[in-house]
Amino acid sequence: MTFELNINGFSLDNQANDYDVIIIGGGPAGTTAAIYTARSELRTLVIDKGLTAGALGVTSKISNYPGVPGPISGAKLVEIMREQAESFGATFITDKVVGLMVDGEQKEIIAGTGNYRAKVVILATGAMGRTSTVKGEEALLGRGVSYCATCDGAFFRDQDVAVIGNNDEALEEALFLTKYAQTVHLIVPTPELKARDVLAYEVAENPKIKVRLATRLKEIVGNGRVEHILIHPRQGEPETVPVTGAFVYLQGSQPITDFLMGQLATTAEGCLVVDNDMQTSLPGVFAVGDLLCTHIKQAVVAASDGVLAAVAADKYVNGRKKAVVDWG
């Protein structure tokens, strides 16, 4: 057994990781906010899981975004917005936020590549979170059910595992697991893969990965630890697949707020509560787009949220600076 020591270059706090504004989520809401904050000369970082990670990114044809006659793919539209934000000086990184502390004046964001700090955080993670779990999932969490292959892959050496989901993350994790597992069953609910072409190609070419398209996960079964999963192909009878690990990356239509660990006020439906300036229950923390569920889920509406939050963020950052000078 070996692993890379990996003690260089990441996970360290340093001043290079200090920003005025950190935006979590690079869809239309987050990216539009970045265009405005960067243009206001606020040092801006956008942390995003990938171009096709969100609701717009997986939309194939858009013809009603003002100024962009289309038809254009959602991923392409996000890419154009991103280039616009970058042209004003915003920085984008592909990463996943695993935790954050936002109750103080300085907000700290913990991501896979390291810790970042900012005066303002704008949350724009969208609403593709899961609405419910499958039978057996909660009871077997940590007993073979996992949401992090990089964390837990090592426990499944030479065993058969399943990855359930259909997005870049699911495919990347399936490929990662082939380093350890004997066979990786990739259970995909839809008839085709929705991920970057290069990933889909790698998955198709990997002899350890068995792809099951148009197949739903019905149950994760085991007594004290995962023993098998029950799946149901759209055309066919339910069947059991013996596995010791089940890595779940399913999506739904719920606001993605789990990484907040209850630090912010939400509605009973799990939507973030904001004021007219898009500010949440904590000062300097804003939320925009589908996280709010206050409006119809359209890219242009999300983008407009982003503008409101960006303007308020500018006021928040610069207002505070002026106050300090006055007291001085």
Partner: protein, 220 residues
């Protein structure tokens, strides 16, 4: 060959300039038969070389058994982070296995925390710890490739710093497979509290507080 590259050394030197109280690292290793003993010692040596405020003592687990017992160290590689200087104090902060990957950042955070002397816990947790009469032993199982794990490790170590009743170990799961088996670790982070209560994932402070209360109730 140095494990830390120049860029990392520069960053750390800058961070360590802010160190207040002296910090001591005690590493238990062994000449043979310990997979990552050499690297663990080397990480500690390189860190100690970056600041006058960080001192290091390295001991052999077999030759210095009495000292290992005194620190409660029962496996290696082991790293103990304590306050240095004449009034030095052992808070019960332990690393078993190599603090590499994401856990390297935990180690740095701990050095900074011990030096600052502030565990930064909520009032609820601080109040509960002040009344704590039962010893609490937290074992946080991790892998070096787990981005969620440092949150669990650091919370456990903050508790250890805040209370003399708490000892908190990071345990690198793949280096101690017998312990991973014993505590049914198939996913990380997994925190074992007093052998009886388990917490999956990086729990927020108040959720962990509920589990701590549960574990103390079992002991009572």
């Amino acid at each position: 060959m140095s494990l830390l590259n120049q860029d990392t050394r520069d960053q750390l030197t800058e961070m360590f300039a802010a160190l207040q109280k002296p910090v001591k690292m005690v590493v238990f290793t062994q000449e043979f038969e310990c997979q990552y003993c050499q690297e663990t010692r080397q990480i500690a040596e390189e860190l100690a070389s970056l600041s006058d405020k960080i001192s290091l003592e390295v001991y052999d687990f077999v030759k210095h058994k009495a000292l290992a017992d005194q620190y409660g160290v029962d496996k290696i590689p082991a790293t103990v982070i304590l306050e240095g200087g004449q009034n030095g104090k052992d808070f019960g902060i332990r690393y078993y296995g190599i603090p590499s990957g994401y856990e390297f950042s935990s180690l740095i955070h701990d050095v900074m925390m011990v030096s600052e002397g502030d565990p930064q816990l909520s009032k609820e947790m601080t109040d509960w710890l002040a009344e704590l009469k039962t010893p609490v032993h937290l074992q946080v199982f991790v892998t070096p490739t787990c981005p969620y794990c440092p949150q669990a490790v650091l919370l456990a170590h903050r508790l250890a710093m805040a209370s003399d009743m708490v000892q908190a170990d990071m345990v690198e799961a793949t280096e101690f497979p017998h312990l991973s088996n014993k505590y049914h670790v198939m996913g990380v982070p997994r925190t074992v509290i007093n052998e009886t209560v388990f917490q999956e994932g990086a729990a927020p402070e108040l959720l962990l507080l509920d589990k701590l209360k549960e574990a103390v109730a079992v002991a009572a």
